[in-house]
């Protein structure tokens, strides 16, 4: 551990709805360039956790520090501007724009140019946008209306949009749901290499255990709003509590994806 603060440090995060404790006292940390998988059965509190991290839900208690700065309770746009990019379980893109325009819009926001009332938006950041689309393998479709994209391509587009802010931390909610197996592997490989090359911390949830154990540096298991295990994929896989609550009887391999994709 270096003396500098962790990229992300979460301490005692809590949220309840009515009497239901969705998340109770979750603590963890994440380093730059590290890939952390968050797994758990449906209703374990993964999405709630995610949504608290990027500000969509206000936590009831606990702290979130990004590079030493407290961000818990800030609205999503401010958290985003502090360097947190995210993708959604159900993709959220700008459906009326072309693929490239989606990325250009994000780029112009991060460049602080989105208040300009004049000048053609489509002429700005074109090169940069194409670069990002090339990275995620969408360059060939840059001019297509976003509404026509296949679901897997939408996931990639979301990633490109999330990356356009040069985030320090990337939150990916089921990034490969709805994709063909080959696409999944390609996308996660790209994510991992990018994270390591650029020092981006990645936190992702995933139902596909192959993906999780293949690509995560560490795995954190959530059950009923509590962390029941954290560690390398190997330790987690052997953890008896994880086996009973989640992975099932000696089951190590992936189940077909449940939920997630609409």
């Amino acid at each position: 551990m270096s003396a500098s603060p962790n990229l992300l440090a979460v301490e005692g995060l809590r949220k309840s709805y009515g009497g239901v404790h969705a998340v109770q006292g979750v603590s963890f940390s994440l380093e730059a360039g590290e890939i952390l998988a968050l797994i758990g059965p449906n209703g374990a509190g993964k999405s709630t956790c995610f949504n608290m991290l990027n500000g969509q839900i206000k936590p009831d208690g606990g702290t979130i520090h990004l590079k030493g700065e407290a961000i818990a309770g800030l609205p999503p746009r401010l958290i985003c501007r502090r360097g947190v990019g995210r993708t959604f379980q159900i993709t959220a893109t700008f459906a009326s724009m072309s693929v490239r325009e989606n990325v250009q819009t994000a780029l112009s926001t991060f460049a602080g140019q989105d208040r300009r009332l004049f000048g053609l938006a489509t002429r700005q950041h074109r090169h940069e946008a194409d670069g990002l689309l090339d990275h995620v393998g969408l360059l060939a479709q840059a001019d297509r209306p976003c509404a026509e994209l296949a679901y897997g391509d939408l996931k990639r587009l979301e990633l490109a949009v999330a990356l356009s802010g040069k985030p320090a931390l990337l939150l990916m909610d089921e990034p490969t749901a709805g994709m063909a197996p080959r696409e999944r592997i390609a996308l996660m490989r790209f994510t991992a290499s990018m994270a390591r090359a650029q020092g981006i911390g990645v936190l992702f949830t995933e139902h596909d255990m192959d993906i999780v154990f293949e690509h995560a540096d560490r795995v954190m298991v959530l059950n009923r709003g509590e962390v029941i295990a954290v560690g390398t994929p190997e330790t987690v896989r052997r953890d008896p509590r994880v086996r009973t609550t989640y992975l099932g009887e000696g089951l190590v391999y992936a189940r077909p994806v449940e939920g997630g994709a609409p």
């Binding site: 985003c80 009326s96 819009t105 112009s108 208040r115 009332l117 209306p145 026509e148």
Partner: protein
């Protein structure tokens, strides 16, 4: 004390009347998402038909039978309208049904005059409920007591229907999640028709019950419709209990409010609505709206005009600019009026199409612009151009204030809050006689000598409208325009990308309000006078119709919509007393034939022979 009890009971009776009409609207919206503008028209038909029947069949059975029969007949008419008209356009963009039902309302108003004559009709008193009952020494009409019982009774019956029958359970399920009910294999068509007929039955019953209290006349529909919307929104869309509560609150506040501020009854309920929505953005018992279909079906990505398009526009602008050499003064003045409404509609379209924000109160900015110009001329003695600037500034200032509140809401609630503010501004203009002249308006707002001739004014209007539309288009394609569309397409993604939804939409409203203010200022000089109706609901509705007619999925279809609608209505008003009937029929016809708006007409043809690149995938109701 006894007086307050009597006043309270009177309020209860009003609440019951209001509830009957409002709950029908709420049920229809909850399931079908139709903003049924024709609800008031059905209410009125209920009253007219009940009057006709009750005049023929006397006695207790005759009277009550007439009321019920009238409601059933109108409900059947409603079912007919649903199957013949609305069913064709469920997949059109949201609010397109509003346009269709608006057209229907126009038709019904004139038809009522043709069928029942123009005079107020006073129906018979209800047998057995003619007198009053003394309660604590105060005379309370027994009919009021009947209504007080009837409201909760209908509420109870509806509760039973929704909780104890399969139909009701499906209706409730559909209110929460339409797609799920469809997935369950329920015949949606049957469900929608049933719900629509039920809602109309309640509206017609509400109207029929008024024949022994009110005078049946052809303006009943508009009197009730806005009030009904307000009640439904205060209660929370789709919530019958909310409608009940809201009707109670509105009626009681009104009953007691007039004791303290007799002059306030005009806007009391709008103030209540504004307060409720600011505190509870989804109404008293409403829930967060399920994400509805996007306003825009986005198969075609917007792009600036091609060079061929620019040449075509330039050619037309030149042709229009040459009009003063070819046509007389009257047509130039009509042309100026159309151009002013082109700008007004374009400003609303910017808000609706690019911003995804539907405003029911856009007239507020138009009217503020008109009053700003008039005040500048009358009180400050300013000439034309500075007065136009004053009007524009006032429109802009109004948008700054109104927008600050409204952008906290979304969807229909946003629309209704803009309506509430527009009505509040309207009543200020209406009642602040010392400054605005009240209903008698402000007179003598004529342009300076240099712009007084119809052709100079026409060129001025052309320059302003053209400049406005071009500027608005430039903003659409600017980085801000994309930011605005980003928020419209996905507020979730936009916020997660660092965009502030509220300030973005606020800015859009300010831009739209400023251009509307400019249009209004010019309008004041065209007419030479300003009246509160420039701020009224009908001006807002006109704007809405122009945008919807032009095609909400287009960038500037409203230009076409404004030209067609305004020219047609001026022409019809000049040529016939039944302009509403013809205009309504034209609107209904256009809605059925061109569900994409007039701007979508040519899209149909272009889809047949795609020129550039591969054909877009087949997509029902795609819009251009």
């Amino acid at each position: 004390m006894s007086f307050y009890v009597a006043q309270f009971l009177t309020g209860l009776a009003e609440a019951s009347s209001l509830f009957l009409v409002a709950c029908g609207l709420s049920i229809i919206f909850g399931v079908t998402r139709i903003v049924n503008f024709a609800h008031g028209a059905f209410y009125m038909l209920g009253a007219y038909i009940a009057y006709t029947l009750a005049e023929r069949f006397s006695g207790a059975i005759g009277f009550w039978g007439s009321l019920l029969t009238a409601a059933i007949i109108v409900a059947m008419l409603g079912a007919l309208v649903e199957t013949v008209l609305l069913r064709r356009i469920y997949h059109a963009p949201e609010l397109f049904q509003l346009l269709a039902t608006f057209g229907l309302t126009l038709m019904v108003e004139d038809l009522a005059v043709i069928i029942w004559g123009p005079e107020d009709l006073v129906g018979p008193r209800a047998p057995g409920f003619k007198g009053a009952v003394m309660i604590l020494g105060q005379a309370v009409p027994s009919y009021d007591l009947l209504l007080i019982v009837l409201g909760p009774l209908v509420f109870g019956l509806l509760w039973m229907l929704f909780h104890k029958t399969r139909f009701g359970v499906l209706v409730r399920a559909a209110t929460q999640d339409r797609e799920m009910v469809a997935a369950l294999g329920v015949n949606q068509r049957w469900l929608f028709t049933g719900v629509f007929a039920l809602g109309i039955f309640l509206a017609a019953l509400g109207g029929a019950l008024q024949i022994s209290r009110d005078a049946v006349n052809h303006t009943m529909d508009l009197r009730i419709i806005v009030e009904t919307f307000v009640v439904v929104v205060i209660g929370g869309l789709g919530s019958v209990g909310g409608a009940f509560l809201a009707a109670l609150i509105v009626a009681e506040f009104n009953a007691f409010g007039i004791l303290i501020f007799p002059g306030i009854s005009m806007i009391l309920m709008f103030i209540i609505m504004a307060l409720v929505l600011i505190v509870r953005p989804y109404g008293l018992l409403g829930r967060l709206e399920a994400p509805t279909r996007a306003v825009i079906a986005a198969a075609i990505v917007w792009a600036p005009l091609s060079s061929a398009g620019r040449i075509a526009v330039a050619a037309i602008v030149v042709a229009v600019a040459l009009m003063p050499f070819g046509v007389g003064d009257y047509w130039l003045t009509v042309g100026s009026e159309i151009l002013i409404f082109v700008l007004f509609a374009a400003s609303l379209q910017f808000l609706m199409s690019t911003g995804g924000l539907v405003s029911f109160g856009h007239a507020a900015f138009f009217g503020l612009g008109a009053y700003g110009a008039a005040l500048a001329v009358k009180d400050l003695g300013l000439p034309l151009l500075p007065a136009l600037a004053c009007g524009t500034t006032l429109g802009c200032a109004g948008a700054v204030v109104i927008g600050w509140f409204c952008v906290r809401l979304s969807g229909v609630y946003f629309a209704m809050l803009t309506l509430a503010f527009a009505q509040i501004v309207y009543s200020v203009a209406f009642q602040w006689t010392d400054v605005t002249g009240g209903d008698n308006g402000m007179l003598g707002v004529w342009p300076d000598a240099w712009a007084a001739s119809p052709h100079t004014f026409f060129w001025l209007a052309l320059a302003v409208a053209l400049g406005g539309v071009v500027l608005l288009r430039m903003i659409v394609f600017s980085p801000f325009g994309y930011r605005l569309r980003a928020v419209r397409d996905s507020a979730l993604r936009a916020e997660a990308t660092g965009i502030n939804r509220m300030t973005t939409q606020w800015a859009a409203l300010i831009i739209a309000g400023t251009f509307a203010g400019l249009a209004g200022a010019l309008f004041a000089f065209l007419k030479g006078s300003v009246f509160p109706d420039s701020l009224g609901v009908s001006t807002s509705v006109d704007g809405l119709v122009m945008v919807l007619l032009g095609g909400i999925g287009t960038i500037s279809g409203s230009v076409l919509g404004a030209v067609v609608y305004k020219a047609l209505s001026i022409f019809l008003v000049s040529q016939t007393d039944y302009s509403k009937l013809v205009l309504g029929a034209v609107i209904v016809g256009l809605v059925v034939v061109f569900p994409g708006g007039l701007g979508g007409i040519t899209a149909r043809f272009s889809r047949l022979r795609p020129v550039l690149g591969p054909a877009p995938p087949a997509r029902p109701e795609s819009l251009g």
